[in-house]
Structure formats: structure tokens, C-alpha cells
């Protein structure tokens, strides 16, 4: 279980407060208005942002002071998930060998398997720049498979993709998350994504990260803060 206990982070002069527990292996969508602190929540979990109060813990380990590299977390950013000057296979190899050494035979086989799993079989020698946006996301997800960490954070990684492609990628994320049994947090603007992907929704609004609510229930009876954000959807 991931626990955020009475955590406060300074954000644009005010504080973002969070106090919640997330079950291992759960799939969670993070919804909320722009600038409310959705990415900040991920940064706190990943360790990119120090907290001023409270405690962050995974299972029995206190992570509050742990640097990003010491946390059981893999993360996909909005962009820049791959080193553009290294081949896809080399990029994936870094997940197995953080010292930059070339992977051994077993490692290479694992890389190939991960690539096939995301539908990129045989593309290991390509540079990321020669892949389409969707393929780059797939390559990054293949690396997440290799990193094999129990918490997976996705910070709107598919916002630049078209609707059909995005649906495909969300299904792939589901598949990857299931394979790893990872607690997965997906930041999104789109309630449709939330319903398609998540069991639970965490709402970030009004300086507060709310406790998770089952996705269907949240959408059927949205709280005031979410209604205000969804707004336009009510009218049609």
C-alpha cells in the first residue's frame, strides 16, 4: 500500500495537501483542473518534489527523504521519455544496466521480448526520432516492463496522440500494469480516459488531493469540484 500521510507541498504560494492510501496493484486516474496539482502529486510520489510536512511510505518503507532513484517507482513524463541519440534497444538496456554497460544475452532476450509485447518487434535498432509518437510511447512502456517496479506513474504521456491512438495506448498501459501488478496512477484531463482505464479516481482540486473513489461512482455522481471542472459535459 502507498501511504501519503498529512503531506503538504508548497505550490505557487499556497500548499497542496494530501492524505490518502492507495492499494498495491490498483489502477487510478488522477483528475482535476489545470494547475490544481495533479503532476505535483506524481512528483511527490516519485521524489522529484520535497514535502514540507507529512510522510510518504510504500509498504513498510518510509520514502519521505528517499531520492527519486531509491524509490520503487517508474514514471512516464509528457515527453522526453527516451534519450534521442540512443537506439531504442540501448534506451531499454538502461533499465537493466543503469551503469550503461551493454546487456548480456539474457538481457537482450528480455529487451526483445518487451519490444514484442508492446508491438515493436524488430525496431530495437531504430532511433526514437524515426518512430511515430505512438511508437515512442510504446517503447517507453516496454522500458517500464523491464524496470519492473511496483508503482507506475504516468503524467499525461499520451496527450499529444489522437483519440484512437490514445485508446490503444491506454489498453496497452492496462496490459503492462496487469503484467507488473503495479499500482498505476494516470494523470489525465479526460474523464473518458478515467472510465476506460481506472478502477478508482483521485480528484485534485482546491488545494487538496481527495481520497480515491470508485470510477463509476465518481462519474455517476460527481462532487461539486469535479462538476465545476467538467462543466461543459453537463449541458449535453
Amino acid at each position: 500500500m502507498l501511504r501519503l500521510e498529512d503531506v503538504a507541498v508548497p505550490m505557487d504560494g499556497r500548499a497542496l495537501r494530501m492524505d490518502l492510501r492507495l492499494q498495491a496493484g490498483a489502477r487510478i486516474a488522477v483528475l482535476g483542473p489545470s494547475g490544481a496539482g495533479k503532476s505535483t502529486l506524481l512528483d511527490v510520489i516519485a521524489g522529484f518534489r520535497p514535502v514540507t510536512a507529512g510522510r510518504v511510505a510504500w509498504k513498510d518503507n518510509d520514502l519521505t527523504a528517499a531520492p527519486p532513484e531509491a524509490r520503487p517507482v517508474s514514471i512516464l513524463f509528457q515527453d522526453g521519455n527516451l534519450f534521442p541519440h540512443l537506439s531504442v534497444a540501448r534506451n531499454l538496456g538502461l533499465a537493466l544496466r543503469p551503469d550503461g554497460a551493454r546487456p548480456d544475452t539474457t538481457g537482450r532476450a528480455r529487451i526483445d521480448a518487451a519490444l514484442s509485447e508492446v508491438g515493436l518487434a524488430g525496431m530495437g535498432d531504430r532511433r526514437p526520432g524515426t518512430l511515430s509518437g505512438g511508437q515512442q510511447s510504446r517503447a517507453a512502456l516496454a522500458r517500464v516492463l523491464l524496470q519492473d517496479r511496483p508503482v507506475l506513474l504516468l503524467d499525461e504521456p499520451f496527450s499529444a496522440l489522437g483519440p484512437a491512438l490514445k485508446v490503444e495506448m491506454l489498453d496497452l498501459v492496462r496490459q503492462v500494469a496487469d503484467r507488473l501488478s503495479a499500482l498505476t496512477l494516470l494523470v489525465t484531463h479526460d474523464p473518458g480516459d478515467a472510465l476506460r482505464f481506472a478502477d478508482e479516481v483521485v480528484l485534485v482540486a482546491d488545494g487538496q488531493v481527495h481520497a480515491p473513489v470508485p470510477a463509476a461512482q465518481m462519474m455517476a455522481d460527481p462532487p461539486a469540484a469535479l462538476r465545476a471542472y467538467l462543466g461543459a459535459q453537463d449541458s449535453d
Binding site: 516519485a46 521524489g47 522529484f48 531520492p67 527519486p68 532513484e69 517507482v73 517508474s74 514514471i75 513524463f77 522526453g80 521519455n81 534519450f83 534521442p84 541519440h85 540512443l86 540501448r90 538502461l94 533499465a95 544496466r97 543503469p98 551503469d99 550503461g100 554497460a101 532511433r127 526520432g129 524496470q147
Partner: protein, 503 residues
């Protein structure tokens, strides 16, 4: 943590090697020796020639930059790129070229003689100023051009649609730009000219055209008056620091212009094509004819290259490569915004001051003359460091900003980060910085003059010696060799950074 340690070590080494010699100078200057009356004259001359050089460079740059900004013509991009060449052009080569055009037996005097006019003499104040304008007119032009191209095209369209007169347009659009850029350009060039040594050595000299730097050299080499040399170095240090601080405050944000090959669609260039063409042709001729003369006069001289010149060329190559390695070893760990500030220290301290300080320090341990080449390599690395940092730090910061999170989430080790990400991503700027450093070190005629004995000449010094011995053909050949080697070094390194480098 390891990276931090390396950065701190690099910073400390930099501080020791700049402040150490200064301290040595300070200690030695505290003697009974007095400045000679000629030394105050040198101070006045240094200031006066720097004022004139900066003023002429900046004033002449205005019409050139204006013409380049509002006209487009084939070869414009090449010309803008060529404006960057004087930066890596060895001073002694430029001086040879200028003598070939403006000297006693130069093109201009030939023409004047044919017309029955008076003969011009290139030696003295006007020669020094001429050479400084040759080097700094392109710099000023690039700085101005950058400002000009930064004016949004809409402004000019608005001016056209309002039917503004030329005068009104100048007052409303261009004058504010000039007011913003010119003081900075003037200040930067003024500072550069304050530390002029090689130009003054070759075209100045004598009691009426000696800079402080040249006076340091003369005090050390001819009078062997180390106390006076130290006092002069102190004077130069104060001058450099004061002017550097003034330049920094005046030139906030303007930086060294990088001539962008961008043409803002302009509406005001049409009626002015004739004037602009004249200006551009004149400026191009002023820059290119001397270089062409170096090549023309150098070709026959190549046959006269002796064993001495070959050995000097070998020394110069070794010095250039050592300087480049040293400079990069310093620049990479310090390539942050804070490191850049630190390296500004090196800008204010002139090579001759450093050289004099190192001479005083070394004297108690070894025969300083035997250290001529290592000292030259060291001082040149220090002199190139601010430029290398300027080139590297922005991009290094960008690489860190772009990939530091990915690096953390992948748990990359320090070595893997350096080998796989940091250095490969910086290949282009590293190649460019290495090229500049190598070319600058190759062509430098400064501290080597202080230390050199006949066995340890570099190629620029060898050219100077051949000139002094009136072996003009051999000097021209050696100058051409120097020119070729400097540009080749720059090209090789810069090219090495580009080949196969992918975005």
C-alpha cells in the same frame, strides 16, 4: 557527489591558477622600483587607442549591420559567417595582411604612388587602431545585426503602412536599438583592446605607441626589471578589472552576437540598394583583401619554410592540443551558470599579467624559459575558458534540465550518465568550443613572447622573428602556414562535433 567534487576541484584549480600569479605580482610589485615616465605614457596610449578602436569599430559597424539586415543577396549568409572568422584569425597573420595592403610596399601605397599622392605609414597609433578595427568591426557588426534581426518584422510593416518617413522610422525603430546595443558593443571592444599586446608589438612600439601590456614585456625582456614589470602588471590588472566591471554593467544581456542567417522581410531596403551595396562591398574588401594578400604573398614563401619554422609549427600544434584538452577538462565540470561567473575572472586578467605572475612564481624553482611551452598552453586554456563556458553552459544546463528526471528514474550511474548522455548530447558545442580554443591557442602571440628562447618558439613567434629579421618572404610563407593550421584545427574539431551527431 562525485560530480560535485570534480566541479569544486576544477573551480579551486582555476582560482589558484588565476589568483596565484596575481598574488605573485602583488608581492613583487611592493618593491622600491618606480615606474618610468614612459609607463604613464603607456597607460595614456592604452586608453586612447582603446577608445579610438572601439569608437571606429562601432561607428563603422552601424551602416554595415544595417545593410546586412535590410538587404538579401546571394552570399549574404557566407558573409555573415565570415564575420566570425577574425575571432580565430591569428593576430600576426592579420597584421601581415594589413601590412600587405596598407604598409609601405602595400597595395594602397602602390596606388597612391601611381596617382602621385603621399605615402602612408602603417606604424604607430593609426596602425594599431586600424588592426583593432579589422578585428572588432566584424564583432560589432554581428552584435548589431543580432539586435536588428530581433526587431519584429511587424514593426517595419506597421511603419510602412503608416507611411512613416525614413527619419521617423529611424527615430522610432532603429535609434532605440542602437541606444541599447551600441554602449555594450563599445564597452566589450574597449576591454578587448585594452589587453592588446600582439598588435602593439608589431604595429606600435616606440615611446609613443606602447601599451601597458607591451611595456610589461619590454620591462621583463629588455630591462629585466621584474619589479617594474610587476607594477605595470598591477596597473594592467586594475585597468582590466575596472573596465570589465563597467563593460558587464553596460552590456547586460547583449552578449557576443551570433550572426543568425535570418532575413526579416523588410520594406525599407528597396530605395537603398545602391548605398547598402557600396557599404557591403567596402566592408567585405576591408576584411577579405588582407586575407587574400596573406595567401597570395604566402604561397611563394612556402618554399622557404626552414627547419626552424617546421619545429615551431610542431610546438604550436602541441600547445594548441594541450590547451584544448586542458580547457575542456576545466569547462565541462564548470559548465553551469555559476561556473560561467567564475570564469569571468579570467577575462579581466590579461595573458601578460598571468604570464608575468607565473614567471615570478616559477623562477624560484626552475629556469622559467624552459617552461615556455607548458606555460603558454596553460595561459591559453585559461584565456579560452570564458568562451568555452559561454558555448557549453547553456546547452549543458539544458541537457541537465531535459534529462535529469529520466536519469533519476532509470537510476543511471554517474559514469553511464557522462558516457551515454551528457557528453554525446554536448558533442556539437564541445566540438565548437574545442575548435575555438585550439585555433586561439595556435595563433596566440602573447605570453610565449615573455618566455621564449630561440629553442622554444611557437609558429606565431617564428613569424614575428622572421619579420623582425626582414625575411619577409619566409615570414609570409610561415604566416600562410599558421593561417592554414589555425583554420584546419578549428574545422577539424568543429566538424568532429557535427559528423553523425543527431538531434
Amino acid at each position: 557527489m562525485a560530480a560535485r567534487l570534480v566541479a569544486i576541484t576544477a573551480a579551486l584549480a582555476l582560482a589558484c591558477l588565476t589568483l596565484g600569479p596575481v598574488l605573485a605580482v602583488l608581492l613583487r610589485a611592493d618593491g622600491v622600483t618606480r615606474l618610468a615616465p614612459g609607463d604613464w605614457q603607456a597607460l595614456r596610449f592604452t586608453l586612447w587607442q582603446a577608445v579610438l578602436s572601439a569608437a571606429f569599430s562601432v561607428l563603422c559597424a552601424v551602416p554595415v549591420a544595417r545593410a546586412l539586415a535590410r538587404q538579401s543577396f546571394p552570399g549574404r549568409g557566407l558573409l555573415v559567417a565570415l564575420m566570425g572568422a577574425p575571432f580565430i584569425l591569428p593576430v600576426i597573420v592579420a597584421v601581415m595582411g594589413l601590412i600587405a595592403v596598407f604598409g609601405q610596399a602595400g597595395l594602397l601605397n602602390d596606388g597612391l604612388r601611381a596617382l602621385g599622392g603621399p605615402a602612408l605609414d602603417i606604424y604607430g597609433l593609426h596602425g594599431v587602431v586600424l588592426a583593432h578595427v579589422f578585428f572588432n568591426l566584424p564583432l560589432a557588426t554581428r552584435m548589431l545585426l543580432q539586435g536588428w534581426l530581433a526587431i519584429p518584422a511587424e514593426r517595419f510593416r506597421l511603419a510602412a503602412s503608416l507611411g512613416l518617413t525614413r527619419r521617423a522610422q529611424f527615430r522610432l525603430i532603429e535609434l532605440p536599438l542602437l541606444r541599447r546595443v551600441l554602449p555594450g558593443a563599445f564597452a566589450v571592444i574597449f576591454v578587448i583592446c585594452l589587453t592588446s599586446f600582439a598588435v602593439a608589438l608589431t604595429l606600435g612600439g616606440g615611446p609613443r605607441a606602447t601599451t601597458v601590456e607591451l611595456a610589461i614585456y619590454q620591462a621583463m625582456r629588455f630591462d629585466f626589471d621584474l619589479g617594474r614589470a610587476a607594477l605595470l602588471a598591477l596597473m594592467q590588472l586594475g585597468l582590466g578589472l575596472a573596465a570589465g566591471i563597467v563593460a558587464l554593467t553596460v552590456s547586460q544581456g547583449s552578449g557576443f552576437g551570433i550572426g543568425r542567417d535570418r532575413i526579416v522581410p523588410r520594406w525599407d531596403g528597396r530605395g537603398r540598394r545602391g548605398v547598402d551595396a557600396c557599404v557591403i562591398v567596402l566592408a567585405a574588401a576591408f576584411l577579405l583583401v588582407p586575407l587574400a594578400m596573406v595567401v597570395l604573398r604566402g604561397l611563394p614563401g612556402l618554399a622557404l619554410l626552414g627547419a626552424d619554422t617546421a619545429r615551431a609549427a610542431g610546438h604550436s600544434l602541441a600547445v594548441a592540443l594541450a590547451s584544448t584538452a586542458l580547457c575542456l577538462a576545466w569547462a565541462l565540470p564548470l559548465a553551469t551558470r555559476r561556473g560561467e561567473l567564475l570564469a569571468l575572472m579570467a577575462i579581466a586578467i590579461s595573458p601578460l599579467v598571468l604570464g608575468a605572475g607565473l614567471f615570478l612564481m616559477l623562477r624560484s624553482f626552475v629556469n622559467p624559459f624552459s617552461m615556455a611551452l607548458p606555460v603558454t598552453a596553460l595561459v591559453n586554456a585559461l584565456m579560452a575558458l570564458p568562451f568555452a563556458l559561454r558555448i557549453l553552459s547553456t546547452e549543458a544546463e539544458a541537457v541537465r534540465a531535459d534529462f535529469s528526471r529520466l536519469r533519476a528514474t532509470l537510476r543511471l550511474t554517474q559514469a553511464a550518465w557522462l558516457r551515454l548522455v551528457f557528453l554525446p548530447r554536448l558533442r556539437r558545442p564541445i566540438g565548437f568550443a574545442a575548435g575555438l580554443t585550439a585555433a586561439l591557442a595556435m595563433g596566440d602571440l602573447g605570453v610565449i613572447a615573455l618566455f621564449a628562447d630561440p629553442d622554444r618558439a611557437t609558429l606565431p613567434l617564428q613569424v614575428y622573428r622572421l619579420m623582425g629579421a626582414y625575411q619577409m618572404q619566409a615570414a609570409a610563407g610561415a604566416a600562410l602556414l599558421l593561417l592554414a593550421l589555425s583554420f584546419a584545427l578549428f574545422w577539424l574539431f568543429d566538424r568532429g562535433g557535427r559528423v553523425n551527431a543527431e538531434a
